[in-house]
């Protein structure tokens, strides 16, 4: 258990008043103006536990998970199926509740669904009765943003993901990759403090997945949003992340957080062949298999 990151970064919990109200203020630009403060912790997990009682057997999905996420950081949660990574993400967004422990966003304990975070689903879940732009407007609608502003903000993010031209078509006419771009746009449109992504590219083919990885890296740099990204694809995690949290199953637990020492921006595909990436990959694979590797 390497919690050194946690203790090193658990220093201050400053609440920045300018970022407490989400999105509704028209002055907040969607661009790089949000000015993330790296090193400041935005999300803090304290001893989060969750058990799914079952008739056949009881599954301990999460066993005392503690760590923190820094503002503006891209952190991936990686591990084999059943390690609790998706459960942790769902608890973060309030889609599930933890049995024990708490999660703090900007120093405030979360309860229920937080409107300051958005979620990107693996199975995308666009609403087929709404057009692409209406899907993107969904979160803004719920937050009571007036119609005209809603439309222009939705259009802005759609253009950001390169889908301005298909704003008015029904989502089911789009390819899987385009649909997930809409899913990302829908989540980003509300200008969340933290973007939670649950294996967002898991259902896409290899080519689409890799181009979306590049796009999401660019989008993240443009927006400066904090991203918590769940995946079981180690290469994907290495390509995208600043840090990778490794989870193991039975019971689902966080075993280690590793730094990804690779240059940014990583829009260049060659980064995957970087010696550090290769070393890190074999370390992570060994770790997740239960072997003890040498730390890169």
């Amino acid at each position: 258990m390497d919690r050194s990151n946690l203790s090193r970064k658990a220093a201050s919990q400053v609440i920045d008043p300018s970022t407490t109200s989400l999105g509704v203020s028209p002055s907040a630009p969607a661009g790089p103006g949000t000015a993330p403060d790296p090193g400041r912790q935005i999300l803090e997990y304290r001893n989060v536990s969750k058990t799914f009682p079952g008739e056949a057997r009881t599954v301990v999905a999460l066993d005392g998970v503690s760590f923190s996420v820094q503002e503006g950081e891209f952190i991936s949660l990686v591990g084999p199926s059943g390690c609790g990574k998706t459960t942790l993400l769902r608890i973060t967004d309030g889609l599930e509740t933890a049995d024990e422990g708490e999660i703090r966003l900007d120093g405030r304990a979360l309860s229920g669904v937080s409107r300051e975070m958005s979620y990107v689903f693996q199975d995308i879940n666009l609403l087929p009765w709404r057009s692409v732009i209406q899907n993107v407007e969904l979160g803004l609608e719920v937050r009571g943003v007036p119609k005209a502003e809603r439309r222009s903000r939705a259009m802005e993010v759609l253009e950001m993901v390169g889908l301005g031209a298909v704003a008015s078509v029904p989502p089911y006419t789009l390819s899987g990759g385009m649909q997930q771009r809409v899913g990302v746009a829908r989540a980003v449109a509300v200008r969340p403090k933290v973007l939670l992504m649950d294996e967002p590219f898991g259902q896409l083919d290899n080519f689409t997945r890799e181009s979306l990885q590049v796009e999401i890296a660019e989008l993240w740099q443009k927006l400066g949003t904090t991203i918590v990204f769940v995946t079981h694809d180690v290469d994907e995690a290495i390509f995208l992340s600043d840090r990778i949290a490794l989870f193991l199953p039975e019971p689902g637990r966080l075993t280690e957080i590793v730094d990804v020492d690779l240059p940014r921006p990583r829009t260049d595909y060659d980064v995957r062949a970087h010696p550090n990436a290769i070393k890190l990959r074999s370390y992570i694979m060994d770790h997740l298999r239960g072997d003890r590797g040498v730390r890169p």
Binding site: D93, G94, L95, V113, S114, R115, S118, Y119, F121, N125, L127, P128, W129, L138, G139, E141, V142, R143, P170, Y172, T173, V190
Partner: protein, 305 residues
């Protein structure tokens, strides 16, 4: 809208499933396969081209009519009359206003009954799908009501509402409510499984989820419920017309039947069928016009799984 679909968008979900299954199970056209649909690409009569299907249908109809007409040679006309007599009866009954009046009356009763049934059925079905307590409380009631043979309720409607329009409308409403309710409830449960996370993740209130997620999400099921309601409602419409004060198309059938006016009777039955088909077609149009995603996505989803 369904530009990416290989099948024409007018197909129902059911036929789409049937056809995809057929296509999967029998890539080689079997001799038993019907002459319609994508399986029968190896054409029987290729020179007819694209109009082949239409011509086949017309031939079948004309053959049936010819057989019917020919039956007068060995059957007494009182049994099933003949097409020519039915046509003249039809012209006569339309001319004297009997049939149009009955048609309108039945149509209006049917629409009112179904509208109330849709209101009640969709509202209660949504409530059951949204609120666990309501679901648990009403589950046995719905099971009981749905299992009750609705024809048995006809005298009850007479007792409650007398022998007028309101009793007939109430009868149609009662028997149409169940399929709408049960299907809306099933639709809401399907939404619970599929789209619930979306509503929650965006922090929607319960009310917003009901309006923005559950009601639209349940629409495919509601349309299935409407089609079933239409089928049972048409039976209710005729039965009500026959049994409750002899009115509308049902009343006419009872009338002509008791006097053995077979040609008039068949003309009325044909009109009844036309009314039901008109309503079926109207619902289909409404679905394709307002909810094009239903036909488009149900096929896509099934192909994906």
């Amino acid at each position: 809208m369904a530009s990416g679909q290989p099948n024409p968008p007018t197909l129902t979900e059911e036929t789409l499933v049937a056809e995809t299954r057929m296509a999967a199970a029998a890539p080689v056209p079997t001799p038993a396969a019907p002459v319609v649909g994508p399986v029968a690409n190896r054409s029987v009569m290729p020179f007819l081209g694209a109009r082949r299907d239409l011509i086949a249908k017309m031939v079948a109809v004309i053959a049936a009519l010819a057989l019917w007409q020919a039956s007068s040679a060995f059957l007494k006309p009182i049994f099933i009359s003949t097409p020519s007599k039915v046509v003249s009866a039809l012209i006569n009954l339309i001319g004297n206003g009997q049939l149009p009046g009955a048609f309108l009356r039945s149509l209006i009763e049917m629409l009112i009954g179904m509208a109330i049934a849709a209101g009640v059925g969709i509202a209660v079905g949504l409530l059951m799908g949204r609120i666990r307590l309501v679901e648990r409380a009403l589950d046995p009631v719905v099971a009981f009501g749905n299992a009750t043979p609705s024809i048995a309720l006809l005298p009850v409607m007479e007792v409650w509402f007398g022998i007028g329009t309101s009793a007939r409308v109430a009868f149609i409403m009662v028997i149409c409510t169940w399929p709408l309710l049960v299907n809306t409830y099933a639709g809401a449960r399907a939404v619970r499984g599929r789209y619930l996370d979306v509503g929650n993740a965006f922090g929607m209130s319960g009310w917003q989820q009901t309006w923005k997620i559950y009601l639209p999400g349940a629409m495919p099921f509601i349309f299935v419920g409407l089609r079933i309601a239409l089928a049972v409602g048409a039976v209710g419409m005729i039965l009500g017309g026959q049994e409750i004060g002899q009115s509308g198309l049902g009343g006419l059938t009872a009338d002509f039947g008791s006097y053995s006016e077979t040609a008039d009777l068949v003309a009325t039955i044909v009109t009844t069928t036309a009314l039901a088909m008109f309503l079926f077609g109207a619902f289909r149009r409404i679905q394709d016009w307002r909810f094009p995603w239903i036909a488009a996505t149900s096929a896509g989803r099934r192909q994906a799984k």
